[in-house]
Amino acid sequence: MGDTQRPAKKTAKSRPKPASTNEPQFVQLLSPEGTRVKHPDYHLDLTDDEYRGLYRDLVITRELDAQGTALQRQGQLGLWPSLLGQEAAQVGSGRALKPQDTVFPAYRELGVQWCRGIDLISAFALFRGTDLGGRDTVGDRFNMYAIVIASQTLHAAGYAMGVAMDGAVGGEDGEAVIVYHGDGATSEGDFNEALIWAGVFNSPLVFFCQNNQYAISETNARQFRLPPYRRAEGFGVPGIFVDGNDVLATFAVTRDALDRARRGEGPSLIEAYTYRMQPHTTSDDATRYRDEAELDFWRAKDPIVRYRKWLAAEGLADEAYFAAVDTEAGEQVRALRARVMALTDPEVSEMFDNVYAEMPQSIAAQRAEAVEFQASLDDAAEGSDLR
């Protein structure tokens, strides 16, 4: 084959077994009924606190997300893209990250952001329209939300190249990069180019595809013949298929993929099979393209219900603990809500100030003009108040 490069190491895990018969062939460690399933390749051995922590994350994520929907309905946000139903995919993967890892989210990753301990206000400011989502993304190791579908996959691929060039991979302390995207994103040229880049440069990058069954109204059938994890394999990038409603399985496969990346063993793609329980965003009317029966089918696979059952059955947590989490979630929601309501409109000048490192004279002139114009209107308004 001439000098065609082969993947450094085949990580062909044996095909996972489904727990119950109606489940696809994905990695699952916890059945929808809440029973623990064994998997030949993935073992989890967390502390009791860590197990309980995942529950807390799941519940708080769900509540904060619900608050996004509520705030939009109350006119406080322009839009909200709910992650309801996808909590396990986000919390499982988000908690698998090490502090040195870097995240490139799409626009629905509130749960990952929560797990990274990053102030969530940025997401709410973005959807309130008071800013464009800017934060100290480098310090946070959590990039801005990306609206143009799949564009972030190339940024992540470049960043991961840079990580490798820095010599920051190669051991248990190595850095890994994870990029989140949807099932629809796999159709964009950028996503496929990112797979090529990550493969050719053997970069420490994990693609985390939340296959929530829809790209707005379009089903998987409009995006691909074979599921995304199979696509990745065709690029020479190992593909892992996981029950995205199973927080333990998601945690396990993500940790594994990140560890391989940080050790210098290259990229992989995880397809987390899950479901978007809400419309695409608050602007969407999902009743036009899906029915209650389908929702019921997925309600029975709820990621929190099953995890709570298991925790209770194992004796890892009791009603008091669950109640305490609910209370904490309520507090988080109230605190956040107050901060969202307090977000104020930016100054006119702000649309000019950050465009360039060195502001051209023409922009400075436009800035002055806009500020002055705004002031003159304010004056006029004041003037008319006086009349």
Binding site: G129, I216, S217, P346, M351, I363, A370, F373
Partner: protein
Amino acid sequence: MTTMSMIKALNEGLRRVLEEQPKSLVMGEDVGRLGGVFRVTDGLQKDFGADRIIDTPLAESGIIGTAIGLAMRGYRPICEIQFDGFVYPAFDQLVSQLAKIPNRSAGRIRLPVVVRIPYGGGIGAIEHHSESPEAYFAHTAGLKVVTCSNPADAYWMIQQAAAGDDPVIFFEPKRRYHAKGEVDTDEAGIELYRARTVREGRTATLIAYGPTVDVAVNAAEAAAEEGLDLEVVDLRSLSPIDWEPLFASVRKTGRAVVVHEAPGNVGIGAEVAARLTEECFYSLEAPVLRVTGYDVPYPASRLEDDYLPNLDRVLDAVDRSLEH
């Protein structure tokens, strides 16, 4: 005469195209089962079938690239790009392929492809959902670029665009989508590539298109109260521009202000100003002025009112013109 919104007008216009032209297709993201995120294609899949109203994969280059192939096969695709800010992944297929293939083929291939793009701001949207990319396409030889400002134009222009054999980029001002207007469904009244004088006047000429026509008309009405008699011209076609009515207007008024949402730098307004000056140099009593978006990325929505040309900024420009 019927009263309808621009969305309804576009929907009805598309219906007529689909009925009259069996080779026409509608394709894009969510245009089928959902009827489009703005419902412009609502009900079309039910009535014309999934073979003619095609939900495509989420890939804009793919949408335009395959539409070109379909056109080579004799189909007449009407593509939807979901929002202005998502047309860029298709840029190569638009400017190097759609625009150039007819000429490359020495005229043997015609590509009757219409690309519908909801555009412009003022709807409180997040980033990439409020852009005005028309200058990119107007600068591209081989494309034609049009935009409607009201339901009647929407109804007829979409049909006229689909009837021609040239590729047309069809911009729909999304903040005018829900505004209603009278539509004469019997007769178009005006050709696709013609400008229209919306309001006659003698003091100065306001030149606008798409979402800013309304801004210009409001400004003219406000100015009338101050005794200024402003003419308003709706360009409708941005490439080619229908120059004669503009020349005539400026020769009459001696002053012009161009109004658009896109950034001013190397925008449509620059072309209008340059060309008007070339042709009407001795008639102009003031330089052609521009009221446009600033030369910065479209801001967070809470700032968009400050970014977009509005009545005050238009009147201010008129005042400045008159000071000359």
